[in-house]
Symmetry: none
Subunit: 259 residues, 2 copies
DNA sequence: AAACACTATTCCGTAATACGAAACATGGAG
DNA sequence: CTCCATGTTTCGTATTACGGAATAGTGTTT
């Protein structure tokens, strides 16, 4: 409306499509007409057009219109083509140069995180992590906590129940209460710390890559031996890390951690 | 053009949108213009319109256009409203555990079935199927036959006429007579087999989820490589499959396949 | 059973809308 | 620096989508 360069019929068609997608049991021409303020015949014409393409379905008996599965098909194409690794590559490499430490990209799968990409720093990289495809539970890693901080509490609770929680090191959080407090802290700060919770002698700072809903399945971390990871160092890593995550999130069409 | 009631700008916009969804790394205006035969300024105008709504994303630096996440959002609305998926979730997961194979839920739409949910088994899952939103004709899939077996012959006949029947594999049934015989067998047994009719090397057993009238629009299948799908194996899958379908049917307020 | 009320669908004259040629930026290559 | 290629904006035009009104189709009331 206010927007200048917009094709009227397209705009109207998308209004209709969005209404149909959100309605549970479909809508009639009349209903759509009332809701959008468009003339009945206009609604009818636009819907017919979308019907022939499968974006909308018309119940022949009742003339109730619903969203068609074609949209889901397109959505699945998009998902398939979302090559996170590819889109994360450049931001990760820059983060690696800026920090001179090892950078990891992980994705959540079931109750674990899986390492899917890594950039190693110039200086004595910590070798222990490294293997692409390696898994760790969500609950005992910085990246896992960063991801879970974007999930609703109910889902985190379910996951906690399903997880076989055990102390990987003396620092691992094993109480659900303490874990929820920790997630609160992550949400407040915008990043998560792994303070030898997964592996002794290794500290890392991690941040999530949220999708368009603000929910994350991916995260990035910067890891280093504890000797190089003072609190001051972490404070200085925060900025570059969040910048990189925001870049990746945008490249994936998602939202950002910070405005 | 050939189609009667279709809004030109809409049709063109969807052409563009579909191309973008299928392209891995986005496309330029020029590419889209060449592909569709539309004038570049027309492409530009339509894309701008879709950009403001989030259906398309424009990389500011390179002016490469990609499909936006808005489509995924709409798709998720549709999925949320399809509560079949929700009601089928637990029975399908149990069926997956019991059989240790890939389980699919499909719905009929027009002359096709659409995959709407999937549970992958622990062992070497067959990846080829999988894409949620993917379509196949009713006539050449086990799930399709299971659904059609609940329809009156007249409707099956109409559908057969409207379908562009062709052999997907050497095993696909392409004669209407043979097809009706096959449906008789499905009705007698209570389940359908897909014996490499859709994809070579893959066998599956499928059963319908009938509504209160006994008519089905949904079906569930268990698929596996032919090596794991002997006749004995199929006999042993029958029980768990039918049980799962009955559970889902009851959850949806429908009738049951068996007493 | 007939008339009614309501909604979807089709028709068609009109002008607003989307179109596309061409001019104008922009940016990369040689 | 110039050229070339590609994206962006402008603007006059007629094609296209619009919407009022007529029609068909459904279910409901008296």
């Amino acid at each position: 409306m206010a927007e200048s360069s917009s094709v009227q019929s397209l705009d109207r068609a998308f209004d209709l499509l969005e209404l149909l997608c959100k309605s549970r049991n479909g809508m009639t021409i009349g209903g759509l007409s009332a809701e959008t303020g468009l003339h009945k015949s206009t609604v009818h014409r636009l819907l017919s057009s979308m019907c022939t393409r499968g974006y909308v379905q018309r119940d022949a008996a009742t003339s109730i219109y619903r969203a068609g599965m074609r949209l889901c098909e397109l959505s699945s194409y998009i998902m398939d083509n979302l090559d996170v690794v590819e889109r994360a590559r450049l931001p990760m490499e820059r983060l690696g140069r800026e920090t001179d430490e090892t950078v990891h990209l992980v994705m959540q799968e079931e109750r674990d995180i899986v390492y899917i990409h890594k950039v190693e720093s110039g200086r004595g990289a910590i070798r222990m992590f490294s293997r692409i495809g390696m898994r760790r539970p969500l609950y005992c890693t910085g990246v896992g906590k960063a991801i879970l901080a974007t999930w609703p509490d109910s889902e985190v609770h379910t996951l906690w129940q399903e997880s076989d929680v055990k102390p990987w090191t003396a620092h691992t959080i094993v109480s659900e209460d303490a874990f929820f407090h920790e997630l609160e802290r992550v949400r407040r700060l915008g990043y998560a710390l792994d303070d030898e919770e997964n592996e002794l002698g290794v500290r890392c700072i991690a941040a999530a890559i949220p999708d368009y809903r603000g929910r994350a399945s991916y995260a990035v971390s910067v890891s280093a031996p504890i000797s190089r990871m003072s609190d001051e160092r972490i404070a200085s890593l925060r900025g570059p890390l969040l910048t990189a995550c925001d870049e990746i999130a945008v490249a994936l069409g998602g939202s950002m951690n910070r405005g």
